[in-house]
Assembly symmetry: C2
Homo-oligomer: 267 residues x 2
């Protein structure tokens, strides 16, 4: 069955949504069937795939309000083999009700994602910049998690706490097998990867070197450069890997997809 991976970071604006969409598209173009689920109430996933939340015929909210199944909620994207599900949040009440469902009935999402493994090769979960209900529900449903990292000091400085907090969260929620000390659910760190990598400044290079030193083999070889093409994605409403496959940003996401698959196939 398929693999479920969350894009997680407490630091805001590090490229979680941009990466979920481009990585998903790169995997789909390499032959995977991919589902992206947007768990951020900002609905960034649907906006970058060309739809506004109020135009969606079906939304993630129906999982709870209509007891719908996840595959029935999946929307086609501009990329073959790539589907997505997004909340449809337009008012504060809708956001509160969505967060309320995740908080009290996260188990429904977990069960549905589990069932979706038989239909998709890869399920990517885009999370908001926090460790609140959406991210916790995502981690409970995931096999692994990916952390996008900007080579900036505040982001680098937040990594230790993030990794520790996730470990604490895992220890609380999944029993340890007394025989060998492993966890029932893997929830393993797939890796960290640099985004909007600023190599042009001395401090950018210094922070990147620090991250490399501190996190060495957890860091993917592929770094995603900061490019105009990637920033344009939300205007174009199509993943950059589609509308400009040869650009540096797209090639980086293809490389990252290859590296990711190579890492988890090793298991």
């Amino acid at each position: 069955g398929g693999r479920v991976i969350s894009l997680v970071s407490r630091k805001g604006g590090v490229g979680k949504t941009t990466s979920a969409v481009n990585l998903g598209a790169a995997l789909a173009l390499s032959g995977h069937s991919v589902l992206i689920i947007g768990l951020d109430p900002q609905c960034g996933v649907c906006r970058t795939l060309g739809t506004r939340p109020h135009e969606l015929p079906r939304g993630l909210d129906e999982l709870w309000t209509m007891r719908a199944r996840l595959p029935d909620l999946a929307q086609p994207s501009p990329v073959e083999n790539l589907w997505f599900v997004s909340p449809r949040i337009l008012t504060l009440e809708e956001e509160e009700s969505f967060l309320g469902h995740l908080e009290t009935r996260g188990g429904d999402l977990m069960r549905e994602i589990d069932r979706a493994r038989s239909l998709y090769d890869t399920v990517l979960l885009d999370c908001p910049p926090s460790l609140g209900a959406p991210t916790r529900a995502a981690l409970l449903a995931s096999d692994g998690y990916l952390v996008p990292v900007q080579n900036e000091e505040l982001c680098r400085d937040s990594l230790d706490a993030l990794l520790e907090f996730i470990d604490t969260f895992r220890d609380r929620n999944f029993a340890v097998d007394p025989a060998d000390g492993t966890h029932a659910a893997p929830l393993q760190l797939e890796g960290l990867f640099l985004t909007m990598a600023a190599q042009g400044t001395r401090i950018g290079r210094e922070v990147a070197a620090r991250i490399q030193e501190d996190y060495g083999d957890l860091l993917f070889d592929t770094a995603i450069p900061r490019t105009v093409r990637l920033a344009e994605m939300a205007i174009k409403g199509r993943p950059t890997v589609i509308y400009d496959r040869r650009s540096a940003g797209s090639r980086a996401y293809f490389d990252l997809a290859d590296e990711l698959v190579a890492r988890y196939c090793v298991d």
Copy 2:
């Protein structure tokens, strides 16, 4: 008495923390006595003012655990007349307890901030990228709020919902005076301001033009440029307006401080 202003945005990484600290420092250098309160569990305010959370002698958590007064928790910063209070969060349990206090006893913070008006000219509240408990507690305690905006599509696209959500929140929490339809608490939008303003790309200019068109007089004249000096702040542990007062970033924050004061003095 002093004015209480929150830095608010659901979009992550737009410069809330960088702005709270540099704006606070610029106001302090112009003679204001300023208190910055970090409500983000990531503790960005204390890190950018040169202290790590576990080195803080006192923390915001004591407001609830020791029934301490806010002025007793205030720490000196590298800038004269600028003080700050930050949580001291190192574990997931501490973060959950901090968020729990804000959720159930936000009134204690509101009362303490209200008392602090007699001691400080300006109180700035740095919020995490969400509309959860920290931001709600901040808005309940504030006279006004400032929204940093990146001239990028996903950020521009998130503004309408943010302003509407805050209006809904205000309508729920503050009665409307039947005589003239105004709210008991002002909670007014001080304005939007551009940060990390990318003027070098066509899409950057296009998005900035859209923001100008849609939000016209709500947008401050001063735009904060993206500069290496500002990005370095978290490494230096001092606000940029201190260690390089003549840089473009610093001058922009001095201009923003002047514009802000001119706007609220008009009231």
